[in-house]
Every structure is written in C-alpha cells, then in structure tokens.
C-alpha cells in the first residue's frame, strides 16, 4: 500500500512556548487506520494540527501524497483531499444544524452530490435530521459531536484526521462513528485517528502509535499493542474495574 500522509521528524509548539512535538514521525497508508493513543497533553491533537496545516511546524516535513505540504494553509490541504475533525466542540454554535452540515461541503460546488451526502448523514444520525433547523450551539454535547462528524462526512476526502470522534457519544453513536471509520477504510481512505477510548480504537485500527512527550514511544500492529501489559497499565487503563 502506498503512503498517503506522513509526518517526518516534526518539531512544533505554540508561540514562543516550549516544544510540544519533539521529532515526531508518523506514516499513514491508504486504506489504513492509524491510531494515536497517549496520555493527555502528549501532543496528539498538536500532531493532527500540524498535519492539517493549522499549525506550522518549526522543523520537519509534512508529506501528503508524495508532495511536501509543510506550511500550506488548511484550505489548500483540503483541496488536496485532507479533512480534519477537531477535538472538543467545534460546531458553529450560532448557526443552524443545516448550515453547519452544508458548510462541511463549502468547497463542493456540485449541488447534487452535496444533497446526496446530506441525505446520507441524516440517515446515519437521526438527530441531525430531527434538529435540522435548530441552533447547533443549543444541542447537547453528544448531539453537537454528531453534527460535527456529519459535517466532516460531507466531503469525500482521501485522508481523514479524527481527533477523539467518540468523545461524549453514547454507545449507539459511538458504534456509528466506528462503523463509519471502518467504511472509510474499506473505500481506501487513510485515517489518522486519535482516541482515548483506546482499547476499542486499537481493536479496529491497523497500526497503533503510543505518543508521549511529543514522540512516538512505541508503535506497531494495533492488536499487539492492545495486548501489551506494560502499555496497558501506563496508557490504556487497567481492565474494567470491578
């Protein structure tokens, strides 16, 4: 399989503050889900921001489909087929759900395609259809998350960066999200996934990377990582407490 996205030896940080990423390298191939796990503050979200152009690295390269895209704007990267779902809540709060979802296809000119996608996401997330005209900021936490995911599905990208897509979702919706990720993989999309629901994510991912202190600590086939007892204690939590 061919490499679609790679971060090579990236160093990055915010403002004049100390480095957050200290020589991070990650590679994602087409049709592959790479899962980043790691403690809070390890730099997972930062890595995704560098990949999508929201943050310019201080050194190192970002390569997208063989092209060096370091420092390009998110709009350009979007044009090259890269989508990014942010962590936390990033709906446009004072716009309706409809406007939010439509904005997901801001760069899509083809109305028919757009409408078809809208029908699809409405089916996937009933709440999106139900609350089509409501102000997005007034939805519950989990509902907003669904709107966000729906927004991201409006495009048909080649690479998707997902930052904790299941956070705050109930089990049913979590399942929908994971199913969608699986679907993407099967259609050849490269997925870079950050999840705190680590065991579950590693179960479905192809490659797992444990990030700590801005570097990849351990990486390897996802299932192997999930089984590693040392990692379990340190990063993945003990077995369900009882």
């Amino acid at each position: 399989m061919n490499t679609v996205l790679s971060l090579e030896d990236v160093e990055a940080g915010y403002g004049r503050a100390a480095l957050v990423l200290r020589g991070l390298s990650v590679t994602v191939r087409a049709g592959e889900v790479v899962c980043l796990v790691g403690p809070n503050g390890a730099g997972k979200s930062t890595a995704l921001k560098v990949a999508s152009g929201l943050l310019t690295p201080r050194s190192g390269r970002v390569v997208l489909a063989g092209q060096d895209v370091t420092g390009l704007s998110p709009q350009r990267l979007l044009g090259l087929g890269l989508a990014h779902v942010l962590q936390g809540h990033s709906v446009f709060r004072e716009m309706t759900v409809a406007e939010n979802v439509r904005l997901g296809g801001f760069t899509v000119r083809d109305q028919a395609r757009l409408n078809a996608r809208i029908e699809t996401v409405k089916e996937l997330f009933p709440v999106v259809a139900e609350r089509w005209g409501s102000m997005a900021g007034l939805l519950s936490g989990g509902q907003q998350k669904q709107v966000e995911f729906a927004r991201a599905l409006m495009l048909e990208p080649k690479v998707v960066l997902l930052d904790e897509p299941s956070m705050g979702l109930d089990p049913r919706n979590t399942q929908v999200v994971f199913d969608q990720i699986d679907l993407m993989r099967r259609t050849g999309v490269a997925v870079l996934l950050v999840e705190q629901n680590a065991r579950r994510a590693l179960e479905m991912a192809d490659v797992g990377c444990v990030l700590d202190l801005g570097r990849v600590h351990i990486s390897g086939p996802a299932r192997e990582l999930a089984a590693d007892p040392r990692l379990g204690k340190l990063y993945l939590g003990g077995a369900p407490a009882n």
């Binding site: 809070n40 936390g88 519950s140 936490g141 989990g142 009882n242």
Partner: protein, 243 residues
C-alpha cells in the same frame, strides 16, 4: 435514605422538551449513575438541580429541603458540588488559586481573611495531593493538559466540601489510565460518606463503579436500579445501548 429528590421536574427550550417531568431519587451515601442517549436531558437535569437554569415546573428537594429556584451559589452552599461536561477551570488563575475560589459559607470575616489563610491552603493542598497534581500548584490552569484540568476541576469542586457531588462525564476525553485513577478516587470519597451522581457514557465505568443506576430517555427516567438489573433491562437496551 434519599439524598436528593426531584418531583416532576420539567424544562423545555422553545419546542424541545429537554427534561420532561423527571421524578428521580438519589440514594444517600451511594454512587448513583445517570445514563441515557445523547440529548436525553442529563446535562439539563444537572443544570436544573444546581440552579443554573430555572425549571418550568417541578421541585428539587435536597435532604427534604426545597431548593428549587435557589441561586447556584446557595445550592453550592447547601452542599451540592458539580463539574461540567466540557471541563471548566479558571484558565488564568494558578492551580492553587483555582482551589481557593470555592466558598462553602459567605461569612464576611472569612471573605476578608487573607487568601493564603494557612488552614485553607493546607486543605487545598490536601485535595491536590489526592488528585496527584500537587506539584502543579503554581502553574496556570490553562497550561494543564486536559486530563489534569479534569482532575483540578474535581478537586476544586471538592474544596467546597460538598456532600453530594454531580459529575458530568468525568471520563470524557480522559486518558484511560487516568480514568482508573478517577474511579478509585470516587470510590474513596464515597467511602468517606459523599454521595455521587455520575453521568457517563463509558459503560464499563458506570457498571463497575455505581451502586444505583438511573436511565434517562427523552428527559425522564425510564428505569432505575442496581447495575446488574439495569444491564439486562430490555427498555434500557433499546433506548440506550442500541443493540
């Protein structure tokens, strides 16, 4: 024995019935869990209990005292503490300052007393130590990682010495290793006599930790009982677990 009871609590926003005649009882001294699909009104229910929003109808009774429509700080003084679904700390205050904001009583003398009152600072450090973030006491809260902020938020809530603690998705976005830590903390605190109400989507956590679980759907409880019973309740399976 009941710690907190709501009777026919209702709230609608525009056309949306967020909480719809919820009558709920929390068991004193237990860890109560509250689960329900997205948008079923859990957070709104929290906001109603803590006075952040005013109900359209119904009552909230805490230890048999009517606290409906009390302002949030009075409810806090009555002994109910909470955390928020999206973690909220005071970003530009240091960790220690974050802790010292909490007030249990508003006696003038105490308010004017020095901030760095020895007893209070000791108490704050005690809680930070229990959360394992005492080494961060001089850091500004915005510099903490998400998980650390979650812990700080919990510590600050506990600083006000609440008897009933409401946690809104304490595990959301938190590293699994830390979740373990939060679970054991909640257990310890519960063993000391504090009552908890925990909203969570992490089923393992809820089922493993809670003594009593309430299930919400469309703004009202559809089932309540011990985890073992709830786990197999067909209504719950249908409404929530979606399988």
């Amino acid at each position: 024995m009941t710690s907190l009871r709501t009777e026919g609590l209702s709230k609608s926003f525009g056309g949306v019935l967020a909480v719809d005649g919820a009558t709920v009882e929390l068991l004193e001294g237990k860890i109560n869990g509250l689960i329900g699909p997205n948008g079923s009104g859990k957070t709104t229910f929290f906001n109603l209990i803590t006075g952040m929003i005013k109900p359209d109808a119904g009552r909230v009774l805490y230890r048999d005292r009517d606290i409906t429509r009390h302002s949030p700080h009075r409810i806090a003084h009555a002994g109910i503490g909470r955390t928020f679904q999206l973690c909220r700390v005071f970003p530009r205050l240091t960790v220690l300052e974050n802790m010292l904001v909490a007030v249990r009583r508003t006696r003038l003398r105490e308010l004017l007393a020095g901030l760095r009152d020895k007893g209070e600072v000791e108490r704050a450090r005690h809680w930070l130590r229990r959360m394992g973030i005492e080494h961060l006491e001089d850091a500004e809260a915005r510099d903490l990682s998400y998980g650390q902020q979650k812990l700080l938020e919990l510590a600050a809530a506990l600083m006000a010495e609440p008897e009933l603690v409401l946690l809104d998705e304490p595990a959301g976005g938190v590293n699994p290793a830390l979740i373990d830590r939060i679970v054991s903390l909640v257990r310890d605190l519960n063993a000391e006599g504090r009552t908890f109400l925990v909203v969570e989507h992490n089923m393992d956590m809820v089922m493993g930790m809670c003594d009593h679980v309430i299930v919400f759907d469309r703004g009202a409880p559809i089932a309540a009982g011990p985890p073992s019973v709830i786990r197999d309740d067909p209504r719950v399976l249908e409404a929530y677990l979606g399988v």
